[in-house]
């Protein structure tokens, strides 16, 4: 059976696929409910939601396709359906050739087993045969760079070593179709580089890759086409650049609109925040910030009348509500003496000092020391690893801020 699509044969054909999950108590997971539902039809009523809704998609042979979208858009669900981890509620999927997924790093590892034993275990879990692993063992070991730790139980490994070993095994899969879900979110930059190069090799071999990532740079580097999913639907399907642009525009639209339309604000309203966006050093809007890269936070302010002595404060919080740092124009000595009507203001952060994690920004405007406008959680900020230090190495995420320093031998 072959599926023709744009003159090339489609290796994955998804037709009208939906996946419905039941919120709250899942599928009759306790006995009491089942017994109750035997004589009561009402017992069965549960809230349902569509993780994917009526998806139609064709993916051609050798296509390297990036899947983008906000959390909860259905990206992982789509990969889970393709890999048969879970089953569609409606629709039909046809897959030509062998398919395997690069799973989250270390999922198949057992801490008590040695590195070598885990290569065999993890390999078997992701679908490699024993003779296949035997054949590739040397190559896997040298890719991981962990020759001298192979007979150490992996519980003594650092997280970086864990990642190396797991990726080394996964990189040696030779199925026709490869599914990758955020595998490259971890590890140091040097190793991530190596992984990206390996994946490029895989792509050159003409194999099909579906990749979910929040890191647009990786997607741009690897993929030719892209799919933008939102709320379980395909919003856009096209070249990777267009897909990412669509996604970024949509995200920015929604956040900038929301700042303007937010009603849960404080202050006397003399100066209001109209628009808020994060830009990279070239002035492009961004949805994720790379640790250590330059960021410009641009605000559009509107004054109802002529006002004096305006102070703007940006506060960066993590999701637990801990304050990490503050940018205040009064402290840095860039006072805004006076404004009327609309005004654009930009805060330049030369090296963004937070490590990979989710943060949000609060904005407060003061006019003559009186709170004029304050929007909490005005801009969500996803920080991804970046070149803060020249080596690209970073401490584990969520451990403190990043600062510049130097070491010298004296």
């Amino acid at each position: 059976m072959t599926f023709l699509f744009n003159g090339m044969s489609a290796v994955i054909t998804i037709e009208g696929v939906s996946k419905i999950y039941h919120r709250g108590k899942t599928r009759k997971s306790d006995l009491r409910r089942t017994i109750a539902s035997l004589w009561s039809e009402f017992g069965a009523s549960r809230e349902t939601f569509y993780a994917l809704r009526d998806i139609d998609l064709k993916i051609g042979m050798g296509e390297v396709i990036g899947i983008v979208g906000p959390n909860g858009a259905g990206k992982s669900t789509l990969l889970k359906l393709l890999s048969r981890i879970t089953f569609p509620t409606q629709g039909r999927i046809m897959i030509q050739g062998t398919l395997s997924s690069m799973i989250e790093v270390g999922t198949g590892f057992h801490p008590e087993l040695t590195g070598r034993e885990n290569i065999y275990l993890n390999g078997a879990i992701i679908g490699m045969r024993r003779d296949e692993i035997n054949r590739k063992l040397d190559s896997i070991i040298s890719f991981s760079g962990l020759e001298s730790f192979l007979d150490t139980p992996v519980k003594h490994y650092s997280s970086g070593m864990y990642v190396r070993l797991a990726f080394a095994v996964a990189a040696h899969l030779d199925s026709d179709i490869l599914l990758i879900d955020e595998v490259l979110a971890v590890g140091d930059n040097e190793f991530r580089r190596k992984c990206l190069d390996k994946l490029k090799d895989v792509a050159y071999q003409g194999r099909t890759i579906l990749m979910v990532s929040h890191q647009m740079a990786h997607l741009k580097e690897l993929c030719k086409s892209g799919v933008y999913l939102d709320s379980g639907k395909v919003v856009y399907h096209g070249s990777i650049d267009d897909t990412i642009n669509q996604y970024i525009n949509r995200v920015n639209d929604s956040t900038s609109i929301s700042v303007k339309d937010r009603t849960d604000r404080k202050g006397n309203g003399l100066v209001m925040i109209r628009k808020l966006e994060a830009l990279d050093e070239y002035g492009n809007q961004i949805v994720t910030i790379h640790a250590g890269h330059a960021v410009n936070v641009r605000l559009e302010l509107e004054a109802m009348k002529e006002v004096f002595n305006i102070v703007i404060q940006l506060e960066f919080y993590d999701l637990f509500g801990h304050l990490w740092f503050v940018c205040n124009n009064n402290m840095s000595g860039s006072s805004i003496i006076k404004m009327t009507g609309l005004k654009n203001v930009e805060c330049h952060i030369p090296k963004f000092p937070l490590n990979a994690n989710s943060y949000f920004m609060n904005v407060a405007i003061y006019v003559q020391n009186q709170l004029s406008d304050e929007v909490a959680n005005a801009l969500p900020i996803e920080v991804v690893p970046g070149m803060f230090y020249q080596t690209g190495r970073l401490p584990p995420p969520n451990k403190g801020v990043l600062i510049d320093y130097s070491w010298n031998e004296k």
């Binding site: 599928r27 048969r84 999927i93 046809m94 030509q96 395997s100 065999y120 275990l121 992701i126």
Partner: protein, 277 residues
């Protein structure tokens, strides 16, 4: 899976469960089964201080407990066989069975991080538990043979029948292990029910007493316990006690039916497992 010829996989929400293809696929994942068994055995003996010793201690404690109750306190008739040896012979298959059924229940839930992130035939998880526990069965048989030597029992050709009875024991473990695994995923209450049933089972199986002591009117229910025939068979093979072929046939039939139904139910549940664990 690394197959050589291009194949087409069709996932259709409307299609019925392809039982035979799933069974065939489970066989194709033979290498994974081997690794899971290896992992279970390695981890079990690497993790605890006494390691391997637990495989001795558990059955020995059970034997001593039953010997105390039935051999010393109640003094049941053991056809002239020393009661301790009688109980030891009876415990072999029960010890294996209770270990597998006890472990299989939580096995899929215990592997949920795996089950939710990668596809493989999930039936291999309880199957691996049943296979790795064969080591326990072998250890118990070693204890039995040491005791036989200590009691200066001479070798009888019937003792070779331990082999088919052991195989039947393993099948009973697989059959009930698969059931317990799937029922525990679906109804978490089974994590409480199973230990209870196993505790009852230890006393209603003819481990320390003979099935002949059970009143005739209850005998049919007693024989429905699939281990009754196996345990009686062990005692016949090792000790030369009376043998009731009807109870063995009942055991074989019960185990076969439970195995077939268990595999069927498990495979039917398979596509939801990642959603409900």
């Amino acid at each position: 899976m690394s197959s050589t010829k291009p194949n087409v996989t069709i996932i259709d929400a409307a299609s019925p469960v392809p039982y035979f293809r799933k069974i065939k696929e489970a066989f194709q994942y033979y290498d994974l089964l081997v690794m899971l068994v290896y992992r279970d055995i390695r981890v079990r003996y690497a993790q605890t201080f006494f390691g391997m010793a637990w495989a001795f201690i558990n059955p020995v404690v059970s034997v001593l407990l039953l010997y105390f109750v039935f051999g010393i306190v109640i003094k049941v008739d053991t056809n002239g066989v020393p009661p301790l040896l009688y109980t030891m012979t009876g415990i072999c298959s029960w010890n294996y069975f209770s270990r597998v059924v006890g472990d299989a229940g939580g096995s899929i839930i215990g592997a949920q991080s795996l089950v939710k992130k990668v596809y493989f035939p999930r039936i291999l998880i309880p199957l691996a538990k049943a296979i790795s526990a064969i080591l326990d069965l072998i250890i118990v048989l070693v204890i039995l043979f040491i005791m036989l030597a200590a009691y200066q029992m001479s070798f009888r050709w019937q003792m070779l029948m331990i082999i088919p009875f052991s195989i039947l024991t393993v099948f009973s473990g697989i059959a009930f292990g698969i059931w317990v695994a799937s029922l525990t995923i679906r109804f978490r209450d089974f994590s409480h029910i199973v230990p209870l049933v196993l505790r009852i089972g230890m006393f209603v199986s003819p481990i320390a007493y003979g099935a002949a002591l059970v009143p005739v009117e209850y005998r049919w229910a007693f024989n429905l316990n699939p281990l009754t025939g196996i345990i009686e068979g062990f005692k016949w093979a090792v000790l030369g006690t009376e043998f009731n072929s009807a109870s063995l046939i009942t055991s074989v039939i019960v185990i076969s039916l439970v195995l077939i139904a268990g595999v069927w139910y498990f495979l039917r549940l398979d596509k939801y497992i990642a959603d409900i664990v």
